[in-house]
């Protein structure tokens, strides 16, 4: 690294000392892991009662988002986002496949890390939750009235959208920061060893339409070829800024394990998004080549659609004077978190032995006084001593992420020593610590990144379960651990396995969301071109090799339920409409040998699956979702004849419809 700020405390070389310190602090009285009956009652939510909070846990390598009740730890739902989901048909049906389209083609999987709730005045408002796709860079928006993915936006010119999907304090923007720097330009073929000459990083700003949440890639900022890790927007006084952590400022492109850990410090990148926005509106920057997909639910079609886009406005820091700065920060920092007042910028130096805390007001003063130690790619580097408010000493080994309780305390997850440390935002003294089982990554307090946190519980998400639950083989699910933080001391309340690998999570009071949850999709507002509004309109039509089945689903039959005249080589579109308007009465569809997934159709929805039969025969189909007392009677047959057979195309539903044969 080029910058050589002074460091008071440092580095993994001091690990042994730090461990001793950590152990000393751990020797506090009382075994708070030994659960008593009173502790069990604190997580007990009686049957039929509701939890106090909704928790949204990322799925990590599942690509999804799961919703949990807090404090019970009851799983409420898994919302498919970036990965196909055969359980619901997400990513298999024609209505949802567009959400997985990218400029690299259809992506059946991704890695979802950081859910972030939309905010108003720095507090979560419960309209939407955004989440990043890490591998093929994307941001998704999940609607919290239907609780489903409504939009995905590819982030071009980046590699690994890890520093995402964090919103500014009024959801003006949701940001993305490239983890991998990559060659500058579109589809550039250069030697990997030309990293320093040809590679760059990108910070992406996606604006969010207030009325419906629709995203738009507004502009990108070209930044030095580092790895960008995590991000947080400021709030209150710092609300015009977004902060990003960097590592690999050594600019290694191989064996980062060694090469990217050499420098004493890396940086926090501070970006004044308002100034960059003003510069973009004033015509600064330039359109550069980019190819990306924007996929969203189109209410006029009641399905998702894809748009392929070209070009993005890109700015250099030099285009925007006084908007971009680097804050030296030890050492390969991971998280960057802003306290409720908006004044303190807390870094988690994952190889550091202190938690460095920068001051926003000191940063602003240092900028005004030009207390720069150098300039990198046109970006002033502020002096460490000028911006630092303090260092939390003895935090354990490998501090990562920090959230706040709104009562003057911060809680930092510490990976290597596997603990949570609570420290005082005024004195920077550690006041409590508690073990995490095992190897904690992110932690989360309900609205713990907001201006007004709901600091009653804390959930730590750990990387390995080992002996915590009944063993289930060499690969086990990742635990989440619930702590009560309402008192002076943290108390562990429960421990439950999760879905995929939760990285970050967010939680919000149930009272802010539950009453907006929809009970049905309105059939009256179903604008799908193949929707049925009356069961009498159910029918089958052939056009060449394409056969379309308008199928009505109603307890307890499909209409039609007998179809003949399909031939091998036909492409059959089943357009399923659940014509009922009854909360949580879902119909499903599967046909023998279908080769894809079932289709679940919620009340009032239309969903489509495509079937290409390859063998003659009579194929049973049935409702896969137990819907009524006569669910098991909800079934039918499709007769498939050899190619060229003269079987007429007919359909029927029972005797009553027996005469109603439709031949095209």
């Amino acid at each position: 690294m080029k910058g050589e700020a002074r460091m008071k405390k440092v580095l993994l070389g001091a690990a042994a000392v730090a461990v001793v310190g950590g152990m000393a602090m751990t020797a506090l009285p009382g075994n708070r892991s030994a659960l008593g009956a009173d502790i069990a009652s604190r997580t007990y939510v009686a049957p039929g009662e509701y939890d106090e909070f909704y928790g949204f846990l990322s799925g990590g390598y599942s690509g999804q988002l799961s919703i949990w009740g807090i404090p019970s730890g009851r799983m409420l739902k898994v919302i498919p986002v970036f990965s196909q989901d055969p359980e619901t048909g997400y990513g298999y049906t024609e209505e949802t496949k567009p959400l997985l389209m990218t400029s690299y083609g259809f992506q059946a999987w991704d890695d979802s890390h950081h859910p972030h709730l939309s905010q108003t005045n720095g507090d979560a408002d419960g309209r939407w939750v955004f989440i990043n796709g890490n591998n093929t860079p994307r941001i998704a928006r999940i609607d919290l009235s239907y609780f489903e993915t409504r939009e995905t936006l590819e982030i071009p010119n980046t590699g690994g959208n890890h520093g995402s999907s964090f919103v500014t304090q009024n959801t003006e923007y949701v940001v993305g920061a490239t983890r991998f720097s990559i060659p500058t330009g579109k589809d550039v073929d250069v030697p990997i060893s030309s990293f320093k000459e040809n590679f760059s990083g990108k910070i992406s700003f996606v604006n969010v339409r207030p009325e419906d949440g629709r995203m738009n890639l507004a502009f990108q900022l070209r930044v030095p070829a580092y790895n960008y890790d995590l991000a947080r927007a400021g709030k209150g006084p710092s609300g015009d800024w977004v902060f990003f952590t960097t590592y690999n400022t050594e600019q290694a492109h191989t064996l980062l394990e060694i090469e990217a850990s050499r420098a004493d410090k890396d940086f926090i990148l501070a970006v004044n998004w308002k100034k960059v926005e003003e510069a973009a509106k004033a015509g600064k920057g330039r359109q550069v080549a980019a190819e990306y997909y924007h996929n969203y639910y189109d209410p006029s079609k009641s399905m998702a659609v894809s748009e392929r886009k070209n070009g993005v406005l890109q700015l250099d820091p030099a285009d925007v004077a006084g908007a971009v700065f680097l804050l030296p920060t030890p050492k390969s920092p991971h998280g960057v978190d802003i306290d409720p007042s908006g004044e303190l910028i807390v870094a988690g130096g994952k190889l550091a032995t202190v938690i460095p805390v920068h001051s926003y007001s000191k940063m602003m003063a240092a900028i005004a006084n030009q207390e720069f130690e150098e300039t990198i790619d046109g970006i002033p580097v502020l002096r460490y001593a000028s911006t630092i408010a303090g260092e939390v000493e003895n935090p354990g080994l490998g501090p990562l992420h920090t959230e706040f309780d709104g009562k003057g305390y911060a809680y930092t997850s510490v990976y290597i020593s596997s603990e949570i440390v609570k420290w005082d935002l005024k004195t920077f003294q550690v006041v409590d610590r508690i073990e995490a089982f095992y190897s904690i990554g992110h932690l989360m307090i309900p609205r713990g990144d907001n201006r007004n946190p709901a600091g009653k519980y804390l959930i730590g998400m750990t990387k390995t379960a080992r002996d915590r639950f009944l063993p289930v083989g060499p690969k086990q699910n990742h635990p989440a651990q619930l702590y009560d933080i309402s008192g002076d001391r943290m108390v562990m309340l429960s421990d439950f396995p999760t879905i995929g690998e939760p990285h970050y999570a967010q939680a919000i009071e149930a009272s802010k969301i539950k009453d907006q949850s929809k009970r049905i999709y309105s059939l009256a507002e179903n604008n799908h071109p193949y929707a049925l509004k009356r069961t009498e309109d159910a029918r089958v039509e052939r056009s060449g090799n394409i056969v379309r089945v308008w199928m009505a689903h109603i307890r307890s039959h499909q209409r039609p339920d007998n179809i003949e005249g399909i031939m091998v080589g036909d492409t059959v579109y089943f357009h399923h409409t659940n014509v009922e308007q009854d909360w949580d009465v879902v119909h499903g569809f599967a046909i023998k040998g279908m080769g894809t997934a079932e289709v679940l159709v919620a009340p009032g929805q239309t969903k489509t699956n495509i079937w290409v039969p390859t063998r003659p025969g009579v194929y049973p189909f049935y409702c896969t979702a137990f819907c009524s007392a006569l669910h098991q009677e909800m079934q039918g047959y499709v007769r498939v004849s050899p190619r060229g057979a003269n079987t007429p195309l007919v359909w029927r539903t029972g005797n009553e419809a027996g005469g109603a044969v439709n031949v095209n």
Partner: protein, 142 residues
Amino acid sequence: MTMKWAIGRTGAVLAVAALLAGCGSGDAAQAAVAGGSVPTVEPTGTVVEVRMMSIGGEKFGPEELTVRRGDVVRFVLESGVHNVSFPAAENPDGVRLPETSPYLQVPGQHHDVLIDLPAGEYTFHCDPHVFLGMVGKLTVNE
């Protein structure tokens, strides 16, 4: 589970199904009235049947009927899963309307409504299928 069903020509069903429906077994005096309160009308002993159907379109049969105050309207499930409700927004103000029925799921299952309503015209429908046109009109005479 094995159940013996005794279904007559009209589709009326005996005790087991009536228990499932959570309402009376066909005794007019036991029929549901609003709020489970005591009826204010003397039952006439007349039972008028309305079928509830899904096959070939979701509908009541008949879709319009006329009864006297004190008659019982017996909603009998023929196919599908249905309920019957008298929506406040589409009925006269200030009238104590019959309670919404439970869902009927088994063919032959029925729900009785003792008509304890002033003379006039009333609308009823099936909640999950009202959009599909499953609506009925009830005229009550003194």
